[in-house]
Amino acid sequence: MTTMNCEEAQQLLPAYGDGELDLPRALALEQHIERCAACTAALRSQRALRQAVRSVPYHRAPDTLRARLRAQLPLPAETPATAAAVPQARTRRDWSRWAMPIAAGLALAVGLNVMLAGQRAQDDLRDELIAGHVRSLQVQHLSDVASSDQHTVKPWFNGKLDYAPPVRDLAQQDFPLLGGRLDYIAHRQVAALIYGSRKHFINLYIWPGAGELAPASQGSEGYNLVHWRHDGMEYWAVSDLNAVELRHFAELQIAAGTNKVANAPNT
């Protein structure tokens, strides 16, 4: 890993603070910050400002506005079933469905998108996955949580996705977990886990999928992909790692998912 100078570090600090820096750069930056008082001060100052902005009020929509919207939009009358199904802490006579948690919206979006993904031409999907992989390696790569700890990465997805992607560290098998992020594939947000393998990176995309499918390899534009389905999830691994090793990675993932012992935290 190359050493980072102050000028570079200062440029990357905001993206680092925003959790938008790719993992290798984040690590290089952290190494620099440890040794640099000026950058440490800049980071603290940046955090102080962030904290300040987050202290300002978040204005929630008033009930009167919900009522006004309900009156003006040609919306269906509320069905008793829905009203009964949603216990409301506060009484909202009008518009109570608008106070429903995100679940309703997500349920619809997921239902549509799973089917959408299923119908998508495999080629398009493959291109999207590769584009996502390439994007993730670029300077402005969006890595949302940089951690090699599966217990940090997994909870991070809570509330960001409507499913819990299985997060497994394969450090002992030489595929260390480097972090995770949300990506946008086939019109939906999906979990992407980043693994390292020597100098290569693997993006493992995960979203719900029914049925079992043994790992199938394919290649495109110099990248290798392995696709499989296991235990209710659809997996796509994308990397410039060679096909044999990528397939091995897939098999390790399946083994870790099948054998809970293998899934236990490494000690």
Partner: protein
Amino acid sequence: MVGPIAGGRGGGLSELETSRRFEAMAAPHLDAAYNLARWLTRNPHDADDVVQEAYLRAFRFFGGFRGGDGRAWLLAIVRNTFYTWFEQRGRHKADVEYDDAGAGLETVEASADQAMHAGDPETLLLRAADRQLVESALLRLAAEYREILVLRELEELSYKEIGEIVGVPLGTVMSRLSRARLQLRRQIEAMDRP
């Protein structure tokens, strides 16, 4: 299955079905929409109007919604509605003042590096503890800086999502966010001076 959402009102779906779909998509984001409108308009009455107008527009354009990130789609409409509304009614006095204050700060932008080092974090934290000070400082920023800070820090959106909403590339998101933060910092410091 692209049909239901992409087809929208024109797609042969019943009005009721379209309404249901719109509601399921839009309702969860009403708070986010209102918060953005409130920070842009700087008062509750106008925020109500902007959100209402935006949601009516969103419903009209729902046929063009391709699925995906409903929040970004709605927030982009709220934002556009605000700017249209703002232009139509003419810039009111307060905004000119605010923007002038912003323009004055623009000149210090060149010394960004210096600014990063300047300012004791602890002192800034103390000032930041004064919520009202921070709030009025944020309200004094130009709209484009206010909105990007609200989207980033209050909605906690990613650069990518912000880029989609504001309609600018990632590089612009980053540079605008930097300027917004620098200006906010300057504003807080300026207002804190007795």
